[in-house]
């Protein structure tokens, strides 16, 4: 009867020398941030919709597995400096149109944080069929800010790998919490709101609520998020959360999550042109993934918060 206080998923990873977080940071997070920085720079040099699409995809991977805010609380808001989807009450399109029409220097015209996000960039590039000289100048400026924020994220990950580590229990808890939060946003915000399946917009379908309605990159974004999840919960060559969870006896739960990711991909491939009007099954599949993380995988946490003798007095 070994008394272990609130032990989370077993720390079997020590056999491999690195914890699942360390391995994920090294093999997934840093390469993903690097890819996003590279894509942002490519877009700066060659402003076109194809390159924007690449940036959306690489940024979504970084956002889906954002650990920097937990590693260093000073960076908890960094994703919101890059992406304001679902976090902005103002009408960004109207404001960005004013920035485009303004004759101020790009730096001055883009005076708000929300004006320097990937959502603002979408409006700049997709508000009409042409990309004007002014829009290109704004694009370069927006991307400068995005790159700077991405560099910060990369620095946090590198610092963590080089510096003092937190407990493996904390690391694993943070990964599962990140997956849970990301899968919830996928289900509710990115699929449910547009398809009329979310709690907020029950039975009210409206494609305009999709994350990248203007650029028709919403499905692209969802696929990128799933790829990111696959990188930590899928069967990979490197040691990841799935490897650790399976060693801890949660193989069934990992399989459940993997199957749900496959199902979402399957459902999204049945749909076309970012149309969420028939996305009920896609929503259901996303819900299954969220449940798999939240209700199944979290159950594997060993909850034995010992108090002291249940003996009386």
């Amino acid at each position: 009867m070994k008394k272990i206080l609130f032990t989370s998923l077993v720390a079997a990873s020590t056999l491999f020398g690195a914890t699942s977080l360390e391995s994920v940071l090294k093999n997934v997070s840093i390469p993903d941030v690097d890819a996003a920085i590279k894509d942002a720079k490519t877009l700066q040099k060659d402003i076109n919709t194809k390159n924007y699409e690449e940036l959306v995809s690489s940024w979504k991977k970084v956002e889906a597995l954002y650990f920097a805010g937990d590693i260093n609380e000073d960076y908890i808001d960094t994703p919101r400096y890059i992406d304001v989807f679902h976090n902005l009450k103002e009408n960004l399109s109207e404001q960005m149109q004013r920035a485009i029409d303004s004759k101020d220097e790009p730096k001055i015209a883009l005076f708000k944080n929300s004006f320097k996000t990937i959502n603002a960039l979408e409006y700049v590039l997709y508000n009409d069929d042409k990309i004007t000289k002014r829009e290109k100048a704004l694009t370069v400026e927006i991307l400068n800010t995005m790159i700077s924020n991405l560099e910060d994220i990369k620095a946090i990950y590198k610092e963590y790998l080089a510096g003092e580590k937190k407990s493996e229990k904390w690391e694993n808890a943070m990964i599962i919490n990140t997956l849970i939060a990301s899968s919830y946003r996928l289900k509710e915000w990115r699929i449910g709101d547009a398809s009329g399946n979310s709690t907020k917009y029950k039975n009210s379908i409206d494609n305009r609520r999709a994350e990248y309605f203007l650029s028709k990159n919403s499905f692209n974004a969802i696929k990128a998020i799933l790829e990111a999840h696959e990188e930590v919960i899928g069967n990979k060559d490197y040691y990841n959360f799935a490897s650790m969870a399976k060693e801890a006896g949660a193989g069934k739960q990992v399989k459940e999550a993997q199957d749900a990711i496959l199902k979402i991909n399957e459902e999204i491939n049945k749909l076309e042109n970012d149309d969420f009007t028939k996305a009920k099954d896609l929503f259901k599949a996303a819900k299954t993934l969220h449940f798999a993380y939240y209700l199944s995988l979290i159950e594997e946490l060993s909850v034995t918060a010992k108090i002291l003798d249940a003996d009386g007095d």
């Binding site: 904390w170 003996d311 007095d313």
Partner: protein, 302 residues
């Protein structure tokens, strides 16, 4: 086999009689007797440590251990089961909640305190019910039948009472944990020393083993309104004050619910039950069957 050995209680920080807690209690007793020689002779006397009641406690400690391990633990529903049930119900009823208000450190502080306070609160009420509900009192009498108090008297508890405390533990810890998992997901933890909630560890260091002893160590009256001193628990064991000081570590529950008795208000302590009842509790077998005998044969139920 090592896992089923009663002496592990002395090396397990989760147990009241963990050797470190015993040593700190002895040290406190030494300090106490340095200033107050009044009870020293009694405490050093073999008449206390080898009293038939004390010897019965020692034997019962071993028997009780096996009863718990083999008969009770398999029955008691785990705190984890309760926690996951509570979490699931909250999730299904209120939908997902994402914490963005509290840091990890703040969550640990809140969880550590919540576990301690809720557990102490439920412990107070179960203990009070054991005294006030006649059916339960028959089982709790086993504990109060101790004529002398030693740290091992803590384990002089009927299996039915163990079972109730087991359920109390699972329900209270499970409830708190379920709520915390709902609000904070997997990122919850407890500040602990040697795997024990830090608050429990600190309280255990400060004389928890003197509660069942003849060392009348008390706190200043002001503190005794917040924390139960060893003397206050001894008062609870004295025949005239069974209805006072039900608290575990905190005295606030007794203070709030009107059952607090301060050390300064009681001078004479007489432990055990009424003389006429004592012969019902002088062997292991009698300790185990007396409640049933009293309830079913004694006419309380039949």
């Amino acid at each position: 086999m090592n896992d089923f050995f009663a002496l592990e209680y002395f090396i397990d920080p989760n147990k009241r009689v963990f050797w470190v807690y015993i040593i700190t209690s002895i040290l406190l007793a030494v300090v106490y007797f340095y200033y107050n020689k009044k009870q020293l002779r009694v405490n050093l006397s073999s008449k206390l440590w080898l009293h038939p009641s004390a010897k019965l406690d020692y034997y019962y400690f071993f028997i009780g251990y096996f009863i718990k391990v083999f008969m009770l633990f398999p029955i008691v529903i785990s705190a984890k089961t309760i926690a996951l049930f509570v979490n699931k119900q909250l999730y299904l009823y209120f939908d997902y909640f994402e914490n963005s208000y509290f840091s990890y450190e703040a969550v640990i502080v809140m969880y550590t305190i919540s576990l301690f306070v809720v557990s102490d609160f439920t412990r107070y009420w179960l203990h009070r019910f054991l005294h006030t509900i006649p059916f339960l009192w028959e089982f709790h009498k086993i504990h109060h039948s101790a004529k002398v108090l030693t740290p091992i008297t803590f384990y002089r508890v009927h299996p039915v009472e163990n079972l109730l405390f087991g359920f109390r533990y699972s329900l209270s810890i499970g409830l708190v944990t379920g709520v915390f998992i709902y609000f904070f997901g997997a990122m919850i933890d407890v500040y602990a020393i040697l795997g024990v909630n830090i608050l429990i560890f600190i309280f255990s260091l400060f004389g928890s083993n003197l509660r069942h002893s003849h060392v009348p160590f008390s706190y200043p009256a002001f503190f005794e309104k917040f924390f139960i001193s060893p003397k206050q628990h001894q008062i609870h064991h004295s025949v005239r004050h069974f209805d006072k000081n039900f608290g575990g570590y905190l005295a606030i529950w007794d203070y709030i619910f009107g059952s607090l008795k301060l050390s300064k208000d009681v001078n004479v302590l007489k432990f055990g039950l009424r003389k006429s009842q004592m012969n019902q509790y002088n062997s292991i077998l009698k300790l185990l069957i007396a409640p049933f005998k009293n309830l079913f044969v004694g006419g309380k139920i039949l």
